[in-house]
Symmetry: C2
Subunit: 331 residues, 2 copies
Amino acid sequence: MGLSIGVVGATGAVGRKMLEILKERNVAIDKLRVFASARTAGEKLDFNGQEVTVELLTEDVMKDQFDYLLFSAGGSVSEKYAPIAAEAGNIVIDNSSQWRMTEGVPLIVPEVNAHVLKGYQGIIANPNCSTIQMMVALAPLHRQYGIKKIVVSTYQAVSGSGHKAIVELAEQIKDEAYPSNVYPKRIAANCIPHIDVFNENGFTKEELKMVFETQKILEDNTIEVNATTVRIPVYYGHSESIYLELKEAPGIEEVKALLEEAPGVVVMDNPENNHYPTPLEVADTDDTYVGRIRKDLYNPNALSLWVVADNLRKGAATNAVQIIEAIESMK
Amino acid sequence: MGLSIGVVGATGAVGRKMLEILKERNVAIDKLRVFASARTAGEKLDFNGQEVTVELLTEDVMKDQFDYLLFSAGGSVSEKYAPIAAEAGNIVIDNSSQWRMTEGVPLIVPEVNAHVLKGYQGIIANPNCSTIQMMVALAPLHRQYGIKKIVVSTYQAVSGSGHKAIVELAEQIKDEAYPSNVYPKRIAANCIPHIDVFNENGFTKEELKMVFETQKILEDNTIEVNATTVRIPVYYGHSESIYLELKEAPGIEEVKALLEEAPGVVVMDNPENNHYPTPLEVADTDDTYVGRIRKDLYNPNALSLWVVADNLRKGAATNAVQIIEAIESMK
């Protein structure tokens, strides 16, 4: 007997990726339903060679019984509909930021904290794309040494802003006059240190997500995170330059060994042979790639690394589907 | 009576920019000579509406008398010819990395340490592009508070690798099959954490330049720098995400005031109105732009900022010409 799964926001960039990954990973689905707003309801989507009609999202359909409902339709849709679905007994895996920091809502990177899910029913939050890949890479180091401080600068792909942003970059590259609708400035041949809105403390909401989601996922509010998040003209794959202060001095070979053994991590670190990850190379895969691992020249407890992952996959859709797999494996 | 100036490597991207900026800044030139290798010697260049013939670079011509010789022809040319020119009594301003760390060779960012030049004759080194803009922004903060540690991640434009790299990016954007000759991987729709060669400590030479040039320019070997230098698909303008630990707690308004008064700095920091620098906006200007100034959430002595400048101008040619201006103003 397979699973009954619903995807809310199925026609967006992440929603479509969720369908792709459900199929790719051979999730045993008995019944798949897809939901969206009136704008795209009625459209037909392909799932595994079968045509699926997009149903209109309503309060009523959320009360139907599902094993899992995957949400990727923005914060306001999740705010309204996820509690209705959860109230009806459904497990909701929400890709928006709406419920991530809510007390009692598990915020899950399966390689890191799937244990939190044991016996849980209700809304589960999928972390921010930039947080997920950082957690996959850093959790093994936190367990071994304890993290004191993270200074991270990101190099984020436009696909994180949806299909419209991919079009904006592609068109602006060809046409100097193509307007900037998605981004506040031209993204072609540029980089923009501005993702999500600014908080009065000078950090963006995207940067603050990396602070507070990290503390929640690693279950340690003493970890200090300083983030600068930057959009660059790349289509797929977020990169992160991470400086890390640990509570004790790590051996660099031990760090590499820990990462090589870590679930979901691929170490690419032979720089003399140009062996380090770049977004173009790792896009369309599900792992988190780590390279440029090196000790700080001054602080014996500090090291630097470079972390890359596909933001639509591990940073969103794959992580959500892995949450289903984690729960199923506990049954 | 105007100056006698020679430009060595005049047909390269930075060499041409030097000619452009000598003219733009109305440097009083009586005699201009331009030099290059046999490959381009004999070509005609335009300077201020006058045709100038590229002369072949030889040991002999370097022994002629110049007020200033600007070198931008790579490390090996500077290694061989700069000492000959200096021995003949000429002031050499060298844009290569060849002499930067040599004891006794001044490494100059005019806004920061022009005082070192007083009465000096011989080779003067122009710092690395990424270092120059960081120094313009950070020197005023070092003087006021003392810098303990800098963690910097760069977003560097392809023009830093010369004209061939500009062509490589432009062609790869249009053509998926266009080969990567300048860079080890495709730069279009990608970012590459690899600039210059790797050292055995895991840092690149570009990253180590930012470490040791900073210490030399700020005359303080206790400053700790941790750098990650990354090439991104931008044509002109380097950006830097900088995390800074100071020796005392700065007031954020005081920091902004210090930077607003600092020579060569333009503060662009009203993020709610999308007012922060990006490379596309500040390219083709001579200043160093600072935005996203904010205090760390945890360490009262730490702050973050975002620094952007045109790498061919302030990062190379403008800085070199400003060194001439600084020496002339001391006369």
